[in-house]
C-alpha cells in the first residue's frame, strides 16, 4: 500500500513523504489503524527521526521527532558480567549499569560488539550503527539497549522506557538480576502486549503471589496461556519461581494484566 503523507516536522518544517507499506509492516500498520484509528509511520531525517500518526485516509494527525546519533564513540572500559538467559527471547538486548560500567549480554546475538553501542548509553536516545537502530533506555544507573525490530513505533520506545523505570524502582542494579532481565526480555519479545499495568510485578517478584477463587471466574475471559500461569501460581513459593517456569508470552501476558488482576483481587501478593 502506497501512502502519501504531508506532515510537520519540528526540525525541518512541512515535509511531504511517500511510503510503500508491504508484508508484515503493512499488516501491523492495518492492525494499529483498526485498534486506535491511527497508525505511525516513520522517516529517517538524518540526525532525527520523524514519526507521523496517520488516520485511515492517510491524513497526518500528530507527529514527533527524536534525535539519532550515528557517530561512533571511542570505546570505554566496560566489564562483562556473565549471566544465563532465563527465557528464550527473539530480541537482542543489553543490560548495563552506567555507573559501574558493567554489562550483561546474555540476550545479545548481533555482530555489532556491545562495546560499540555502550558508549552511547549516557542517556536515553537512539543510536544508529552498522545500519541498525538501537534504542537506549535509561533509568538511574540502569541501561537497557534494544536492537529495534520491524514495526516497533515510538510509543513502544516510551513504553519500554516506562517499564525500565518501574523495574529500577525495585532493582537499581539490573545487571545482577537475571529474573528482572528475563521479564524485560519477555516483554520485548511481545511488545504489543505491553500496557502500563506492570509497575508492581517487579516489586512482587520475591513475594508469594496467590490466585484467589475469583480466578475461577476471571479465567473464562483471560487468554488461555495466562490462565495456565495463574493456575500454577499457588504451587510456587514466589512469583519469581512461577515466572521461571513460564514462557515469554505468558510472562508478557501476566505483566500486561497484572495491575488489573491485583486491583480486582484475582491475584494477591502475600
Amino acid at each position: 500500500m502506497k501512502l502519501k503523507v504531508k506532515a510537520s516536522c519540528n526540525v525541518c518544517g512541512d515535509v511531504y513523504h511517500e511510503v510503500d507499506l508491504k508484508g508484515e509492516r503493512l499488516s501491523w500498520f492495518n492492525d494499529q489503524l483498526k485498534k486506535s484509528g491511527v497508525a505511525p509511520v516513520s522517516w529517517d531525517h538524518g540526525d532525527h527521526i520523524l514519526v507521523v500518526y496517520v488516520d485511515k485516509r492517510g491524513s497526518a494527525r500528530a507527529s514527533y521527532t527524536y534525535p539519532v546519533v550515528k557517530t561512533r564513540l571511542a570505546k570505554q572500559n566496560w566489564r562483562r558480567v556473565k549471566a544465563k538467559a532465563l527465557v528464550d527471547s527473539n530480541v537482542n538486548m543489553l543490560f548495563a549499569n552506567w555507573n559501574n560500567k558493567l554489562y550483561c549480554d546474555s540476550y545479545w546475538r548481533l555482530a555489532t560488539e556491545p562495546e560499540e553501542v555502550l558508549p552511547h548509553a549516557d542517556t536515553a536516545r537512539i543510536a544508529s550503527l552498522d545500519g541498525r537502530e538501537f534504542w537506549i533506555l535509561s533509568s538511574g544507573a540502569n541501561r537497557m539497549i534494544i536492537a529495534r525490530m520491524l514495526g516497533w513505533h515510538r510509543d513502544f520506545f516510551q513504553a519500554m522506557q516506562e517499564l525500565l523505570t518501574q523495574a529500577t524502582l525495585a532493582e537499581p542494579d539490573i545487571v545482577g538480576n537475571p529474573v528482572v532481565q528475563a521479564v524485560l526480555a519477555s516483554i520485548a519479545s511481545t511488545p504489543f502486549f505491553y500496557t502500563s499495568n506492570s509497575a508492581s510485578v517487579f516489586s512482587d517478584l520475591n513475594k508469594r503471589v496467590k490466585a484467589t477463587r475469583a480466578a475461577l471466574l476471571a479465567k473464562h475471559s483471560l487468554n488461555g496461556e495466562l490462565a495456565l500461569l495463574i493456575d500454577s501460581l499457588n504451587s510456587h513459593d514466589t512469583l519469581k519461581d512461577a515466572l521461571l517456569s513460564a514462557t515469554p508470552r505468558q510472562i508478557s501476558l501476566l505483566v500486561k494484566y497484572y495491575r488489573t488482576l491485583k486491583n480486582t483481587g484475582v491475584l494477591k501478593a502475600v
Binding site: K35, S36, G37, V38, P40, Y53, R61, A62, D155, T195, S196, N197, T212, R213, A214, L216, L217, A218, H220, S221, R259, T260, K262, N263, T264, G265, V266, K268
Partner: protein, 354 residues
C-alpha cells in the same frame, strides 16, 4: 421535552432489550436463576424435590446463624415461583427452574448477566453459604469485584448507562462538569466520554483506591476518540479522580455547588448510607443541576431475589421507588423523572437553600 427524551429511551430499549415493560421483572428472574444455580451447586435443589421445612433446609446447609436471611432467600424464591411454599414447607417448582435455565441461553437480558450467573456457578454459592453461616461478606471482595469488573463491560450495562444519560439531559450534558459517582473500573467513564464526544469535564469517583487506580489506567482507544494514540484515562486533561470514604463519615472532597450533574449507575443499593450519599450529591450540585441515578427499584417492601443476591454479595438492599423519592426530597432535590423501575432523575431547584 421530557416526553421526547422518554420516547427516545424507550425506542432504544425496545431495539436492544426486546422488552420494555418487563425490565424490572427480568432483573428479578436473572437473580432468581443465579440463586437457582447456587442452590443446585449446593445440592439444595435435589433436596427440595420433596417438601422440606426451613429447619430441614438449615440442617442440610449446616451451622446456619442467619435464619432470617435464609427465610428471606426462600421467600424471594417463592415470590419468583422457583419454590412452592405452603404450610411451612418448600418444594422446587421444576417447570420454573427449567424455564429460567432455558432463558439463559436465549434471552438477551440473561446473556447480558452471564458473568453474574457464571459467578454463582464458580464461587458465589460458597459465599452464600458463608453468609448464611454468619460471615460478613464485603462487596469489594476479590470475587465480587471480579464479577462486577466483568459484568460492567456487558452491552446491557452500556445501554443502561446511555439511557440514564438520555434521561439526565442527553447531549445537552456536553461541556458540563459531571461527577461519575461509583465510576468503577473504567468502563463507565469511557461510556460517558464517548457519549458526549469527550466534550465534558468528568470527575471519576469511587469508594476504593484499587477501583480508582484501575479506572485511572483504563486505556482510551478506538476511532471514537480524538486522541492520536491510545492513552490511559489519567492522561486526559478533562478527567480527574477522587477516592471517597465508604463509611460516608467524610464529605465528598468537592466544594459546594461545583458540578453540573451527578451520574450514579447501579451504586446506591450497595451502600448502607443511601441518604448520606444523596445528601452529598445535592451539596456538590449547582442550582439547576441534575442527579441521575440508576438502581433496581421494587414495587413494595417484599424481599426480592435481587435483594438476596445484593445482600449475599455484601451490599445493602434495593429500595422502593417511594423510598428513593423520599431520599431525594430529604436532600432538597425535586424528582422529575422515574423510568422503568430502574432510573430516577432529580433536579436541584434554582431557589435551593441547601
Amino acid at each position: 421535552m421530557l416526553m421526547v427524551r422518554k420516547f427516545r429511551c424507550a425506542m432504544k430499549l425496545l431495539r436492544n432489550v426486546n422488552s420494555l415493560l418487563s425490565v424490572s421483572r427480568l432483573g428479578r428472574m436473572v437473580n432468581a436463576l443465579a440463586l437457582v444455580i447456587g442452590l443446585d451447586k449446593l445440592g439444595l435443589l435435589a433436596l427440595l424435590e420433596s417438601p422440606r421445612s426451613i429447619e430441614e433446609i438449615a440442617a442440610f446447609i449446616g451451622d446456619v446463624k442467619r435464619q432470617a436471611f435464609l427465610e428471606e432467600l426462600l421467600k424471594a424464591l417463592v415470590n419468583e415461583g422457583v419454590l412452592d411454599g405452603s404450610n411451612g414447607l418448600f418444594r422446587v417448582n421444576k417447570a420454573t427452574v427449567k424455564k429460567l435455565y432455558s432463558m439463559r441461553g436465549s434471552h438477551p437480558f440473561f446473556k447480558g448477566a452471564e458473568y453474574l450467573l457464571a459467578g454463582f456457578e464458580e464461587f458465589m454459592y460458597e459465599i452464600l453459604v458463608e453468609v448464611l453461616r454468619g460471615a460478613s461478606f464485603d462487596f469489594v471482595s476479590p470475587e465480587v469485584a471480579t464479577l462486577f469488573y466483568l459484568q460492567n463491560s456487558s452491552p446491557a450495562y452500556k445501554i443502561g448507562r446511555e439511557i440514564l444519560l438520555e434521561l439526565g439531559g442527553g447531549k445537552n450534558l456536553k461541556g458540563k462538569c459531571i461527577l461519575d459517582l461509583g465510576c468503577g473500573f473504567g468502563v463507565e467513564p469511557l461510556t460517558i466520554l464517548e457519549y458526549l464526544d469527550f466534550d465534558c469535564h468528568l470527575i471519576c469517583a469511587d469508594f476504593f483506591s484499587n477501583v480508582v487506580d484501575e479506572c485511572m489506567h483504563t486505556m482510551v482507544e478506538g476511532e471514537s476518540t480524538p486522541l492520536p494514540a491510545p492513552k490511559p484515562l489519567k492522561d486526559l486533561d478533562n478527567v480527574e479522580f477522587v477516592v471517597l470514604d465508604p463509611s460516608m463519615n467524610t464529605p465528598f472532597p468537592l466544594p459546594d455547588e461545583s458540578v453540573d450533574s451527578v451520574f450514579s449507575f447501579q451504586l446506591l443499593h450497595w451502600s448502607s448510607y443511601p441518604q448520606r450519599i444523596i445528601n452529598e450529591c445535592a451539596r456538590v450540585l449547582r442550582k439547576g443541576g441534575t442527579l441521575m441515578i440508576a438502581t433496581p427499584l421494587k414495587d413494595d417492601n417484599e424481599t426480592t431475589t435481587i435483594d438476596v443476591v445484593v445482600k449475599a454479595s455484601g451490599g445493602n438492599r434495593i429500595y422502593t421507588e417511594s423510598e428513593l423519592s423520599a431520599f431525594m426530597e430529604e436532600a432538597g432535590l425535586e424528582v422529575y423523572c422515574s423510568f422503568l423501575s430502574n432510573f430516577m432523575v432529580a433536579r436541584k431547584p434554582n431557589n435551593s437553600r441547601k
